[in-house]
Amino acid sequence: MLVIKDLHANIDGKEILKGLSLTVKPGEIHAIMGPNGSGKSTLSSVITGNPSFEVTHGSIDFNEKDLLELAPEERANEGIFLSFQYPVEIPGVSMVNFMRAAINEQRKYRNEPAVSATDFLRLMREKKELVEMDSKLTNRAVNEGFSGGEKKKNEIFQMAMLEPKLAILDETDSGLDIDALRIVANGVNKLKSPDNATILITHYQRLLDYITPDFVHVLYDGKIVKSGGKELALELESRGYDWIKQEVEA
């Protein structure tokens, strides 16, 4: 599904990713962990086409398409979704209008007719229940005045609405209390299917108590330096990252 080969990327002329390779297949959940500044968020930005980053070398293929040739909105409409670490507020734009625009762009991309008002509202109701989202929030402007936890929940709600093939959750667990964490994790688990895949970018093992990854990768200094199963996350939790650094630098 997703094949990243020898990816190098810069921001403001500074190289952050330095030869990253990763393959994700349908049905898989990959956790990417690593110390601060290792390039985790850069990876999600580069996959989704954030224009602040420049890819200098390597390739990203998504379902046999060259992702680097596609505009950010085309990548989204191909089925890539990013749950942002810091979701932005868009004052004045209601969640309803925003989601309807997003859904209809996706349908247009697939040559499908626009969603009818009743179908859309039914879908909204269904997905709101799935992520236990208060109707008060979907009646407001996008993320405006939302608490940190509400913003993250809203990201998962949008993910549920858009049903991506590949979801990237960038530190979705940070800033969440235990109840919100459980709700977010439940949402992710419920949306899991043999056809879609998830990349969890996280600092802590905590989220992985709720979502079981098939693979855990350690990102360090712009490269994946170690991969393993879910037990790797536990080891990182107890031993920290220093031993990885030593291994790499040895």
Binding site: A71, A76, F84, I90, V93, F98
Partner: protein, 478 residues
């Protein structure tokens, strides 16, 4: 936002740039007492109207064009303008008699009279150049005692009303452009709502400039008598021209005791091309007076057009407990310049006013809000709240706010809030990541920003306004 994208997005051309081939009856260019007399004679006006025009003309000669606005205005040669143009044929009695070319023009503007008549229930007083060519629903309204006709017809058939109210809100001595309009105004609309009558439909006028070098000098007078209500819509768009065209309109509103007047505008005059060539100069004097106690006037405007806009729809709150509102969205793109805002003059007790101004600047345009809130010495417990927001698209445009306050009564409460924001790259990318293109994202964000104002518009206008906002800014951000 990167310059490249801003550049790319600021490229859309004016969509309504076309002209209609209709014979027009144009007076030779230039302005003199003789021309004023010709205009008056062509319109078969009574002596009192000619006198008014001549007084205004003589006063105008003593005035200089104002220079205090934050506008760069090329010199206007008032002697190179033709002050009267009217479609040559006699005014038609039914739609069948309307010049097919004219109907086609309205069709292209999306204002099919037939459809409007049948579907929306709007009485349309369409002004083509300077003379009204079509008035619908007049009979329905007449049954309720409502007068809705062209200004010329009002002069002919309701001279008492015109003489009683004309120039009582905007005297010809008010300013340079008001004096000019008073001298040479060609036509416009007149509305009178009698006591206790609630006008059952939105009254609307569509303006359009259609002759080369023809100044547009419309004059609108709306009188709402005691306990009445009326909602009036004004919308306009003009065909593409190379030469700059001057527009200097006057709108006067009088609200008597307990009367409620709502005036909505969607303005889309030709703004000039993307290099700043051509475009309409729009110098408008709009003012209402809440004359009676408990009266109410609200101005709502969506301004997207004109090369230069100079416009301050204002209210004099004379009656006790009267209230007024000003809701405005002003968009400037490319080389457009707008200096617009309002004046709220509180004279009566317990009067309140609310100002909500939303400026949107893109390209290399300049967008200024200029507002005055004056609380008179006798205006006990007056209340004003002003909010002025500016949204910048790109970093080559300018947004300016000039709020003036004069408070002469210590019981008054006057509040002013202002914000300036930019559409951030993060907001655009967030939308992109949800599959929404940059262009649509800008439309979504701008319409969200302007929503509070657009919501004030009557339904059919709101839809048009939303489209306009998006069209105007097409291609202006990345």
């Amino acid at each position: 936002m990167s310059d490249a994208i801003i550049h790319e997005v600021t490229q859309s051309e004016y969509k309504y740039g076309f002209t209609t081939d209709i014979e027009t009856d144009v007076i030779p260019v230039g302005l003199s007492e003789e021309v004023v007399r010709i205009i008056s004679a062509k319109k078969n006006e009574p002596e009192w109207m000619l006198d008014f025009r001549l007084k205004a003309y003589r006063h105008w000669l003593t005035l200089k064009m104002p220079t205090w606005a934050n506008l760069t205005i090329p010199e206007i040669d008032y002697q190179s303008i033709s002050y009267f143009a009217a479609p040559r044929k006699n005014a038609p009695k039914s739609l069948d008699e309307v010049d097919p070319e004219l109907l086609k023009t309205f069709d292209r503007l999306g204002i099919p009279l037939e459809e409007q008549k049948a579907l929306s229930g709007i009485a349309v007083d369409a002004v083509m150049d300077s003379v009204s060519v079509k008035t619908t629903f007049k009979e329905t309204l007449a049954e309720m005692g409502i007068i809705f006709c062209s200004f010329s017809e009002a002069v002919e058939h309701h001279p008492d009303l015109v003489q009683k109210y004309m120039a009582t809100v905007v005297p010809y001595t008010d300013n340079f452009f008001a004096a000019l309009n008073s001298a040479v105004f060609s036509d416009g609309s007149f509305v009178y709502i009698p006591k206790g009558v609630r006008c059952p439909m939105e009254l609307s006028t569509y303006f359009r400039i259609n002759a080369i070098n023809t100044g547009q000098f419309e004059r609108t007078l709306i009188v709402a008598d005691d306990d009445s209500y009326v909602s009036y819509l004004e919308g306009c768009t003009a065909p593409q021209r190379d030469e700059n065209q001057l527009h200097a309109a006057i709108v006067e509103i009088i609200a008597m005791k307990n009367a409620n007047v709502k005036y909505s505008t969607v303005q889309n005059w030709y703004p000039g091309d993307k290099n700043g060539k051509g475009g309409i100069y729009n110098f408008v004097t709009k003012r209402g007076i809440c004359k009676g106690d408990n009266s109410h006037i609200s101005w709502t405007q969506v301004e997207t057009g004109s090369a230069i806009t100079w416009k301050y729809p204002s209210c004099v709150l004379q009656g006790d407990n009267s209230s007024a509102e000003f809701y405005s969205v002003a968009v400037t793109n490319n080389h457009q310049q707008a200096d617009t805002g309002t004046k709220m003059i509180h004279l009566g007790k317990n009067t309140s006013s609310h100002i909500l101004s939303k400026g949107i600047s893109a390209g290399v345009s300049q967008n200024s809000y200029r507002g005055l809130v004056r609380i008179g010495a006798k205006a006990e417990n007056a209340r004003n709240f002003s909010q002025c927001d500016s949204l910048l698209l790109g970093d080559k445009c300018g947004a300016h706010t000039f709020p003036y306050m004069e408070v002469n009564n210590e019981t008054a409460i006057v509040e002013h809030e202002a914000t300036t924001s930019k559409i951030s790259e993060d907001q655009i990318f967030y939308c992109n990541q949800r599959g929404i293109s940059t262009e649509d994202a800008v439309g979504l964000i701008v319409n969200g920003y302007a929503k509070e104002v657009v919501d004030q518009l009557p339904m059919e206008f709101a839809v048009e306004a939303q489209k306009l906002l998006q069209i105007t800014l097409e291609g202006s951000v990345g």
